[in-house]
Structure formats: structure tokens, C-alpha cells
């Protein structure tokens, strides 16, 4: 007897998603999009999937993930602009900054639950925003950090010119997305991943199975923030710019909206949510300044009528 067999449709869905992502440069132009938009979807999808590792699979809501996203953004920008013009060095420092901050802040807050946890994540997040906002001569303050750009990557035997080729840069981003998503999926299918599900499902039972719940939440938080930080570094490279709004708590809300919109109980939900959000934003904002109210309305409708998100609808259709 076996109970852990994944149904065939799941493999088919995985294959379809990867095929769409890999072939994106060929079709995005034909559906009215452009390369940069496609790249932005993948970057945001990584951030939303990382947030959902914590939200959907551990049951912990963070409203402060912008802090670690923004640390990735600024870490990358500051290194490339001031220290060394190397894309990979910038990314490494960006991710390390996010990990270090998340590790320390996590220790201070993992004993909190629910709304208290969410509030404290916002508060800590805002600290980083104000530092970036006020420290004019280093971070560029309100204007952001500009006058730098991602650099071609020289492997010695070959040069990856991600600066001048948007398509190459897209595949560069997709590579990191694929590796990150694969690691998260693999973790969730491990005994460790199942302890996170256990905590989401019933913390008291998890505790009385002998699990040190706070420590596991801390690990999940750290993993989540690491990949959000990585998404931040890619976002900085995409725009060749570090924007203080990437640290603002509104950005944290956007990640949560993406995850919930797409369906936080499905692994691919945040990707769908990110695609819907980014495309809608791009499309509606070209017509009206008030694009946020349209997205807000859409979000409210989804939550009211389809609490399991876009993928939840698809699944229900498939089941009936």
C-alpha cells in the first residue's frame, strides 16, 4: 500500500508551468507583454512563493517580508555601486544581509503568534525603511539608489551578457527561481517540511508530539526570508535601481496579496497570484492612476467568493 503517490495531473501541471516559463521569451510579445514584464513576474513569484513557505505551509503570517526583500535590493545596489562592480558579489551580500537580519529578528519574535507576530514584523520592517529613507548620502534617501547597473558575468570560458540582453537576463532570473522553488518543494516533502505542516495544522498537538515549535518556526522564517532576500537582489538587478518603497510595509502586503490571490494552499498559487497582480498592475496602471483600487476590488472579490484563491477555483472545477 502506498499513500504518498502524487497523481499524474500534478506532474502534468508542473510540466506545463515549466514549459510556459521556459518558452516565455517566444510568446510574451504575442500576448501584448514584454520581456521586462515577464522577468518581473518571475521575481515577484519567487518572493510570493517564499512568503508562502511561511504563510501557507507553516501557518505564520508575516507583514514584514519587504524588509528582507529590500535588504536584498539595497545590499545588491550598494555593493555594485560602491564596492565592486560584480553582479554575483552584489547578490551574495544582498542575500547575506537578509539572512543575518532575519536570523536575529526571528529570534526576538518567534514566540509571538497571530496578529502580534504580524504587527511586530511590520514594526521591524519599518525600521529598515526609515534607515534607507533617511541615510541620504549612502542610500539616496527618497530618490533611491541609482547610477549603477547589473554587470555581465564572466565565467572565463564564456561571458553572460545579462546587461544588454533582456532574454539572457530573464533566463538568469529563471535559473535562480527554479533552484529556489525546487529547494522549497523538496524541503516541504521532507520530514522537516511535514513538521511545519503539523505546526500549521495544530500547534498544541505538534508541541505534544515533542516538537520544539518555536525553533521550527524560526527555521521556516529564516528559509522564507532567505528566498525573499534573493528575490530582492534579482529585483534590484531587473531595475538597475534600489527603491525605498521595496522596504515599505505596503510591499509586504503585496506579497501577502499575491499568495492569497493565487491560493496559499497550493505550491504554484503564489506564482499565479504574482502573474495576475503584476500583469493587472501593468495593464490597469496604463489606463488609470487609481489602479490600486481595481486590484483591491479584485482581491476582495477573490477572498469573498474564492477563499482558496485562483488555483482553488481551478482545483474545484477539476474535482467536480
Amino acid at each position: 500500500m502506498k499513500y504518498d503517490d502524487r497523481p499524474l495531473q500534478k506532474y502534468a501541471a508542473d510540466a506545463a508551468i515549466w514549459l510556459l516559463l521556459l518558452s516565455l521569451p517566444w510568446w510574451i510579445g504575442h500576448v501584448g507583454g514584454y520581456m521586462q514584464l515577464g522577468t518581473q513576474v518571475v521575481v515577484m513569484a519567487l518572493a510570493a512563493t517564499a512568503l508562502n513557505f511561511l504563510l501557507g505551509y507553516t501557518g505564520v503570517l508575516s507583514f514584514g517580508h519587504a524588509a528582507y526583500f529590500g535588504l536584498g535590493v539595497y545590499g545588491t545596489g550598494l555593493i555594485i555601486k560602491y564596492i565592486v562592480p560584480s553582479t554575483l558579489a552584489g547578490m551574495a551580500v544582498g542575500v547575506l544581509a537578509a539572512v543575518a537580519a532575519a536570523a536575529i529578528i526571528g529570534l526576538l519574535i518567534v514566540h509571538l503568534r497571530g496578529i502580534y507576530f504580524a504587527m511586530v514584523t511590520i514594526a521591524f520592517g519599518q525600521v529598515f525603511y526609515f534607515i534607507a529613507f533617511r541615510w541620504n548620502n549612502v542610500t539616496g534617501g527618497d530618490d533611491g539608489l541609482s547610477d549603477w547597473s547589473r554587470q555581465p558575468i564572466d565565467f572565463g570560458f564564456a561571458k553572460l551578457d545579462i546587461l544588454h540582453s533582456p532574454v539572457l537576463f530573464y533566463y538568469f532570473v529563471l535559473f535562480f527561481f527554479a533552484v529556489s522553488v525546487a529547494i522549497m518543494a523538496w524541503l516541504l516533502r521532507s520530514p522537516f517540511g511535514r513538521t511545519l505542516l503539523a505546526i500549521r495544522e495544530n500547534e498544541r498537538r505538534a508541541r505534544f508530539l515533542g516538537l520544539p515549535v518555536d525553533r521550527h518556526i524560526w527555521l521556516s522564517w529564516l528559509i522564507s526570508c532567505t528566498f525573499v532576500g534573493l528575490a530582492g537582489t534579482l529585483y534590484a538587478l531587473l531595475n538597475d535601481f534600489a527603491d525605498p518603497h521595496t522596504l515599505y510595509w505596503e510591499q509586504s502586503g503585496v506579497f501577502v496579496i499575491m499568495a492569497v490571490l493565487g491560493g496559499m494552499r497550493s505550491f504554484w498559487g503564489p506564482l499565479i497570484g504574482a502573474a495576475v497582480y503584476v500583469v493587472l498592475q501593468d495593464y490597469v496602471s496604463s489606463m488609470t492612476q487609481n489602479w490600486m483600487s481595481f486590484i483591491g476590488l479584485f482581491f476582495v472579490l477573490v477572498v469573498l467568493f474564492f477563499p482558496r484563491g485562483v488555483l482553488g477555483i481551478v482545483r474545484r472545477r477539476a474535482a467536480s
Binding site: S190, P191, F192, A198, N202, R205, L209
Partner: protein
Amino acid sequence: MSLLQVENVTKRFGNLVAVNGVSMTVEPGELRAVIGPNGAGKTTFFNLISGFAMPTAGRIVFDGEDVTKLTPNQRVWRGMARTFQITEVFPELTVYENLQIAVEVAAGYRLRMRMSQQEKNDVHARTIELLEMSRLTAKASRLVGELSHGDQRANEIMMALALKPRLLLLDEPTAGMGDQETYDITQLIRKLHRDQKLSMVLIEHDMRVVFHLADRIMVLAEGNMLAEGTPKEIAADEAVQTAYLGKEAA
């Protein structure tokens, strides 16, 4: 040596004395029932044993070690597992997954990123064994939240059992159940007690269950120990009859 010694434990909530200087000794292999009217302090007494609450005074010794100050999960690691009056399970996971998680945690795999094929097979075999013991095999791939109350309780007991406890604490295992479900759970408890020589302490409301199952019974009333003895002795005890069984006996 006794498995569990509770020595003079007291629990106060402000001015309310929920448990007042109660002592109890449980021998290995014993099935002990704790009974008493509503508000007698049974659940509080239970929470003190399992570490869910800390006593105001007194001492709890488990297997020769003072565990009074240990957290619930430290007590779990030492071999104490419990179930709750309101079933605590993982409702949106399947029966199989519920037990699988308990088995993996018990095996010390909680931080594992991967398992060898041998380890996977062992976890699977142990999970199947627990499923069969609880007669939940046919429902293995159902979500626990969709099961009947009795099946959820059976699932919870098996999760506790997956930890290979030396002492199993059951808080009102048949609460809110119909006759058939009560019978099934009673049979399960009896089987564990008889076949595995598992030591258990259970709180129970249903007198049929208690007198049927228990080796010894302790009666609590208003936080105090009223009587202790075999089911026969308790049934004959006059103080118990007036305080508790009175209405039923009359």
C-alpha cells in the same frame, strides 16, 4: 519503582484552589482512572502531570526523575504522551500523514531533509502498524477533519502511541461520543493496556467505561482527593456515593 509519583500537588488560580495537595502513585502497567464531578479539578490535575500547567506547590516524579519544572515537550521526550478532551489532530492532513508525522518525530527525524530508503520503509511499516491497530486502515487517505468524532479520537490516541510512551494520559477519551463509538474506543484502550502492558492514566465521565477498564480509581471532589482504590472498593465507598455517585445510586 513506581512509574509516576505525584506528591502533594496544589494549583491555585488567584483565590481559587483547583487542585489541593493531591498525591497519586501509578505503577508500571497500571491503568488508573481519575473521576469526579464537574469542576473537581480533574483536567487541571492532568495538565499538571503533562506539563501544560505548572503546580503552585508539590512535586511530580516520573520514572525516578523530578519533572515538575520540565516543559511539555521535555516530558514527551521522557516518555509521557497525552490526548485532549477536545481532540487535537491535524485536520487538513490525511490519517496516514497524521500518523506518519508522529512516527517521524518519534524516530528523531524532525530536522531531516531526506531519509534513506530503509528509513522510509521503516516509517511506512510503523505507520501501517498503527493504522491497523486502530482499524483506520480503510480510511488512511481520508482527511482527518472529515472523520467521525470517534475515528478522530482513535487517530489522536494512535498519534500519542506513535511516540512509544511509557505513560499515556487520556483526557476524557469518550467525551461526546455515542454508544458504539464509546464501545470502540473502550476496546482500543483495553487492547493497548492488555497487549502492550501500557501504563495509562485517564480522566473519564462515563462510569461504565471507568469501572470496566481501570485497575484503580482515584476520586477528586472540589480539588481534594476523596478516595482511592479498586473499582469494587470505590463502588462501595460511602463518601464517594454521597458526594458523587449518590444521584445514580439512588
